[in-house]
Symmetry: D2
Subunit: 321 residues, 4 copies
Amino acid sequence: MKRIGVLTSGGDSPGMNPCVRAVTRTALSLGLEVYGVHRGYSGLIEGDMEPLTARDVGGIIQRGGTFLQTARSAKFMTIDGRREAVRRMNDRRIDGLVIVGGNGSLAGAYELHKMGVPVVGAPGSIDNDVPYTDMAIGVDTALNTMTLFIDMIKDTASSHQRCFLVEVMGRNCGYLALVGGIIAGAEVTVIPEKPITVEDVAAAVEKAYVRGKTHAIIVVAEGATPKTQEIADYLRQGTAGFEVRVTVLGHVQRGGSPTAFDRLLATRMGIRAAQALAAGEFGKMVGLVGNKVELIDLEKVASETKKLDLALYDLADMLAR
Amino acid sequence: MKRIGVLTSGGDSPGMNPCVRAVTRTALSLGLEVYGVHRGYSGLIEGDMEPLTARDVGGIIQRGGTFLQTARSAKFMTIDGRREAVRRMNDRRIDGLVIVGGNGSLAGAYELHKMGVPVVGAPGSIDNDVPYTDMAIGVDTALNTMTLFIDMIKDTASSHQRCFLVEVMGRNCGYLALVGGIIAGAEVTVIPEKPITVEDVAAAVEKAYVRGKTHAIIVVAEGATPKTQEIADYLRQGTAGFEVRVTVLGHVQRGGSPTAFDRLLATRMGIRAAQALAAGEFGKMVGLVGNKVELIDLEKVASETKKLDLALYDLADMLAR
Amino acid sequence: MKRIGVLTSGGDSPGMNPCVRAVTRTALSLGLEVYGVHRGYSGLIEGDMEPLTARDVGGIIQRGGTFLQTARSAKFMTIDGRREAVRRMNDRRIDGLVIVGGNGSLAGAYELHKMGVPVVGAPGSIDNDVPYTDMAIGVDTALNTMTLFIDMIKDTASSHQRCFLVEVMGRNCGYLALVGGIIAGAEVTVIPEKPITVEDVAAAVEKAYVRGKTHAIIVVAEGATPKTQEIADYLRQGTAGFEVRVTVLGHVQRGGSPTAFDRLLATRMGIRAAQALAAGEFGKMVGLVGNKVELIDLEKVASETKKLDLALYDLADMLAR
Amino acid sequence: MKRIGVLTSGGDSPGMNPCVRAVTRTALSLGLEVYGVHRGYSGLIEGDMEPLTARDVGGIIQRGGTFLQTARSAKFMTIDGRREAVRRMNDRRIDGLVIVGGNGSLAGAYELHKMGVPVVGAPGSIDNDVPYTDMAIGVDTALNTMTLFIDMIKDTASSHQRCFLVEVMGRNCGYLALVGGIIAGAEVTVIPEKPITVEDVAAAVEKAYVRGKTHAIIVVAEGATPKTQEIADYLRQGTAGFEVRVTVLGHVQRGGSPTAFDRLLATRMGIRAAQALAAGEFGKMVGLVGNKVELIDLEKVASETKKLDLALYDLADMLAR
């Protein structure tokens, strides 16, 4: 192996930059050349890449987003698209790839692996829905951003005796919402994995009012049932006490300078990924298991779904009193 | 004058706490007793108030929102409601009032003044729509919150080559949007005072793409024409280059620890308001004129509308290149 | 067990408040009464404590420091002092204690345990020097505060082509400095566990200059050899290229609203500590092992010293290129 | 005038980047070419400069420091140095200069003006010691950074019943300390313009303790009499109640992303400076007077000293109760 590529794919997450920095500097120190591929698999197919030096990845550890840019590629979902990507890698003499991204991107990495391309993946996703890793790169930053916002919303909620529904990211996975609810001291958390009724939500809000709280916070994952708007409509009909307001955090959750945790995690994962590629350990994902970064078969990652630890849900419930 | 009341009214704004602190400590140092009235005019009508000592307003200078809470009172809009408020003030021997709030609250203050109640107002509003003051308490914090968010959104916008529409507060007044657009380096700013067409917006976005920008930011005031959603729909039909995303900043703009500017402004205004009340200068609002805090007749404040300085709009346009 | 006490002891760390909140609400939900003891072991000896309700610990999850206050007690270091503390607990019918603090405080907890007092400890320390737990409460917040500062210092360092020595906390333990160095992209990190010479430091700075960097950052733990000032003096004599500046982060590292990680860790530890006490599992410390919160014998905690993982040091060195 | 240069000089201040951006884009829109001069007057003497396009100043509005870098030049203090600078400008056909910096840099600008060089200055200084402008670029950001830090220090101060001496920048000018003291709710503020005795400081701290405060904050400007260390030594001998700690904020005060206020001020000043240069209004400084940006003769700026408004001092004193 003489030359490797590194790319970021799917939705961006804070920490992708320090990860690419660590991949690059580690690979260079192992005597490899490194190419940065732009816009994920799209750029791979189009051969949109350039060599990276140690200096090119200086000054990026604190930047949000990904300087390599990212994209979702429909073409890469087809076998023809992937063949084109492999041909292009051969043209540019790229011997191996490090891919930083979420479940879809890692499934793509596994497809390349099956075609014989040496790949190592790293989990980058604010949703924390990648299996076989306790945390993905970006989750901690997203949690802190959410915490900052909910703390701000509490200021105005308390001033007006309001009940705020705060919708956060998470289509299939309630991790962000659940942890966000705990650390923000929410009255109720509504997640896809634990359907509840609007009546349950209303009862919890009612209890908060009766206990004398000056505000109530409900954190709702975007993919949860019932939907944020349904809950708001129901609460507006009936709840005495609090006025009801809705706020949707939106894309801001993907931004921001990576936290200390994400910088360290991304750095450790990037180092391990580059080392694995150099050592011929292909078809793997670097995963955080306890406090160690370990290599997991991409096959397992691509074929399974991460389960949310619902014990946290019961904790949240007890604490909301 | 022996005993005064202080209340916060209307939408909360960051800096109301340091203002109440300054009113309280100044009045105490002038030998007055101070009562904190809860929930704005509603609390005044209900006699919901308690004495404040210097210690009661310790540790609040850094808190967002208002510890006195605030509300909008339909009852106070009626002459009967205001009479009840005045009666209640007499019961509690409150000789004068400092009222911190936006245009509606200050109009209410003027009504009390006409009924013979000694009042002094202070402008608290994140919209900066109170006339006769360069800045209202809370505007600077809201601008910084907006800046923080747009900087975060730029991270993810650049990573994906996206055009972001960011909707900010401002029903009738485009100040937040306009200044927010300048300080965030937005491509276009859409405000109520300066209607433009969706075609104009699209043209500006197109130009940014052609110039090689990796993202485009459009800041839209909530009361602007066209509406955020209309612009998004139009851009999605036609614009080559960028993907389009919408984010609505929402209530988070009211929260957060007050900035240095707002703490200082709120403190200076609170001091001046308490001094004015003690000196018998009634029916006034404290206003920031240049770098001085001056007394303005509430009559003028209540009868006029603040004009936005559209010279800023042209600056924004030139800078967006 | 009917009534328990909770106290924070030693240097404060961000996250002590959410920990006390979790202890309190968990214990209440298990049917116990909870007393908050003020000023650590000093307050225990003086009987300075009061009952805590679920509402008393509302609104504190986002506050830095510890609302119970903390202190170092010379008296408690003596057997007479500890006897007085136990007598006072009996007077107030306190059947067990949760103690949140660092190594000294946990050693004190072990002494009480040997005297027959039911105790459970939780590690609260920004230094991450408590053995048998991957992370102590407060470390993550301190790392993020440090990151924020060093990012700010880099702005001015780059503007002036300067080499900055940043001294951070850590008398015996270089964890904060080492991780801080990695996440801030420092050129060199100087820690107690890995003595180096001023010549080594100067060589690393020289290399950074030659590579074309516009600044150099050196992170120094306060207990390291050589001392910050020695390094600065040496660099000032000889290094071409950069001007040298020193900054000492100081007590600000203990402050700040706890991060998401610390709120969650503190909450999980507080819950487990209260459950352990209620279940009769005494003489233990709650520790983070991998991603689980487990019970560790206080005897082991009190008798051992945490080792720093020096593999991180070599990573830091490779990345600094 | 066909081609202008822009440079930043002296100590860096947050907002220099948006100022250079505004100068550049305004000048370009007026049909001028723009050169960015590196490292202040040093770079001018050495001819270290390069053309700036609208794109070159994209993405810098949120960056702290100055991307043009800055320096203090001993050579430029001599007439020979300045002659060399002018010769170099002629070589590169630079017809005029915008200079962003503090008092020393603006005095240098006035020297160039007297030699016939068309110059316009803009005040960039965190100390707010430039006369004829209410605020210099960078002051607001420095105040907010200071506020953030002191709020963090209060967390730990309250937890331990401590008195903190916080030393902030300000050799000759106590503005930062004075306003910082007001917005942080300090017990005492010690500034060069208002010498007090250590006994006065001790008395104020004593009073705070007696009133039941859980901490005391003393803000000290670095150039004040008595010095921070003297005050600390005195307090440690005598004061009952609080433990005494010292923290020096240091260079971190120069860093950080510019606030909304500084971005807007820097933008307005940059625009006006470029317009003035293009219109032939030379030998001026742009200054904030009330809420207007006006042109002031550099001669007046260079020959006078800014006076601190000591009315603020009395306010601070009254509020500290």
